[in-house]
């Protein structure tokens, strides 16, 4: 089970408490009457759906009930960061390099697997 950090509860919680709420940082035009149909349709319907890092809204629906934003890799499901709703987009490059530094720390080698006991 994935553990997702909620920025309001300030800790990691099981994914069952969360609900994905689509792409983040979509801004509705303040005067849609002046907007062309194509522009409004692109705001309302069309999504990026990239393979890789994406900005998403999540809701801690079975917890504090709050919406928040997250940067998640759609391939590995790894959450790069989470931040409160209304906060600006984080700098992904800086996060990635910080993450790479963490991961380049020496990883303990696993001992070779022991032979299966013969039946």
């Amino acid at each position: 089970m994935l553990l997702i950090k909620c920025p309001y509860c300030e800790e990691e919680r099981p994914e069952l408490e969360f609900r994905n709420a689509g792409e983040a940082h979509l801004v509705r035009n303040s005067s849609i009457i002046e907007q062309s149909d194509e522009d409004f349709a692109s705001y309302l319907y069309f999504r990026q759906n990239p393979k890789g890092l994406q900005f998403e809204r999540w809701r801690h629906i079975h917890g504090c009930g709050r919406f928040f934003n997250a940067v998640r890799d759609s391939v590995s499901d790894k959450f790069l960061t989470v931040y409160k709703a209304g906060e600006p987009k984080p700098d992904v490059d800086a996060l990635l390099s910080a993450n790479a530094l963490q991961e380049s720390a020496p990883i303990k080698k696993r001992a070779p697997r022991t032979k299966k006991a013969e039946l």
Partner: protein, 184 residues
Amino acid sequence: MVEVSQVKRLHPLQVGHAGILSVSVTLAGNATRISLRAREDAVPALSKALGLTLPTRPKTTASKGDRSALWIGPDEWLIIDNAESSLIADLGKVKVLHSAVDISHRNVGILVSGKGAAAVINGGCPQDLSLAAFPVGAASRTVLGKIEIVLWRLSENEFRVECWRSFSAYAYGFLQESARDVAV
């Protein structure tokens, strides 16, 4: 050589009674409950009216006498008091902007107590219930099986589960089933 272990035979209707299980699942008494929602600036006035300081840290509670306030979200609390409490009248005097909804009859309380109570809850709740992560007095809204509950740790081996009344039969059955599986 075949070893035969003797297992005490139990009647199916006997299981769960007469202290056979280490964990008991019982119904909590009637209570007055309020779903309280307010912004940060209203917290001091509400705390004064309630007679206890509303908790503002995640997963924490505050109690005074029978009255307890459980932090549910940054602007949401669940207030639980005894059935004859003056909770509603107390909140009626508050002048600052807030929303207090009487949910006394919407919720049902279930008490899970005994050695291994955390394991019984974990039968359907994926949260970390170790004392380090979920200390005595901690409370949180979470899931149990396929329903939503509010979980509150009263002591090391005692939890209160608050669920909606239409889900109460499911929650009660689930916890009893889970209690049968836990052997300490």
